[in-house]
Symmetry: C2
Subunit: 168 residues, 2 copies
Amino acid sequence: MRDTPPSERLILGIDPGTAVTGYGVVARRSDGRVRLVECGVIRTAAGEPLARRIRDVFEGIQSLMERHRPHAAAVEDVFQGKNVRSALTLGHARGAILLAISLHEVPLAEYTAPEVKKAVVGTGRATKDQVGFMVQQQLRLAEAPSPHDAADGVAVALCHSMMGSWPR
Amino acid sequence: MRDTPPSERLILGIDPGTAVTGYGVVARRSDGRVRLVECGVIRTAAGEPLARRIRDVFEGIQSLMERHRPHAAAVEDVFQGKNVRSALTLGHARGAILLAISLHEVPLAEYTAPEVKKAVVGTGRATKDQVGFMVQQQLRLAEAPSPHDAADGVAVALCHSMMGSWPR
C-alpha cells in the first residue's frame, strides 16, 4: 500500500548501468511541490556472470516497484557510447529495467542525459556536481544525494515531474 | 513434466534479435544422437514501444522454459554490430533472454556466431543456407528449418550439444 497522500504522484527515475544503477523516487503534489521519498543505487558484482548481474538489476527494480508502486517511471536513454561492446552490455541492464517497469504496467518515459540536465540544471552540459547541487536545492535536502548515480536517478525523476505529460 | 526419456538432455538454443528471435530445442541422447523437439521464432511488432517488444521476447522465452524445462540453454553472443545504437537495442532483447534463463536457474552457455558455424558447418564463415543445410542433415529433417532465424537457434543448440561441457 502507498503511504503517500492521494494528491501526490510518485515518480521513479532510473539512471541505468551494468555496474551501478542509480534511482530516485520523487513525490509530486498537485501544486507542483516535490519531495524525495527514497534514492540509492543497485550495485552488481563485476566478477559475476552478466546474466546474474542483469538479474540483480531486475530484482532491484522489481523490489522498488513493489515497495513504492509508482504512478510513472522515467529511464535515462543513451545515444552515444564508448563502443559497440559497452553499448551492448549496457543494453542488457537497461532491457531488464524496462522489462520490470513493463511487467508492472507502469507508464514509461525516456530522457537522454542532456534532456535531464537541461530540465534540472538549465544546461544540457551540466557537470555531475551541478546536477547533485540542483537536486539538493529543489528537494530541500541537507546535502546532495550520494553517490552521483543516485543523484542522477533522482534527476531523471525530477525531469519527468516537470514535464507534466505523465498520466494524472 | 518433461516428455523426454530420462537419458535425454534438452538444450534450448537462442539467436537473439529485437525483431526476430530464433530458437531451437534439441534433445541429445547419452549415445550422442540428437533430435529436434521444436524450433521457431519469436517476432515482435516494429511499431510497438521497445519496452513492449522486450516483454514479448521475455514472455516468449519464459513460455519455452516452462514448456520444455531444458537442462541447458545456449545464447548467441554478438561482438560486432552495425553501430552503437543497434547494439544497445539488441542488448535490451538479449538482456531479457538471459534474465528469463537466469530466473529458471538453467545453466547458460554463450557462443559467437563464428563459433556456432564452426561447430555445425566446419567453418566460421558459413552462409545461412549452409547452416540450414547442416542443421537439416544432422537432425534428419525433411527440409531446413525456416525462417533462417529458427535454423540459427537450432544451430546454437546443436553447437552446445557438441561441446559436452554442459552439466550431466
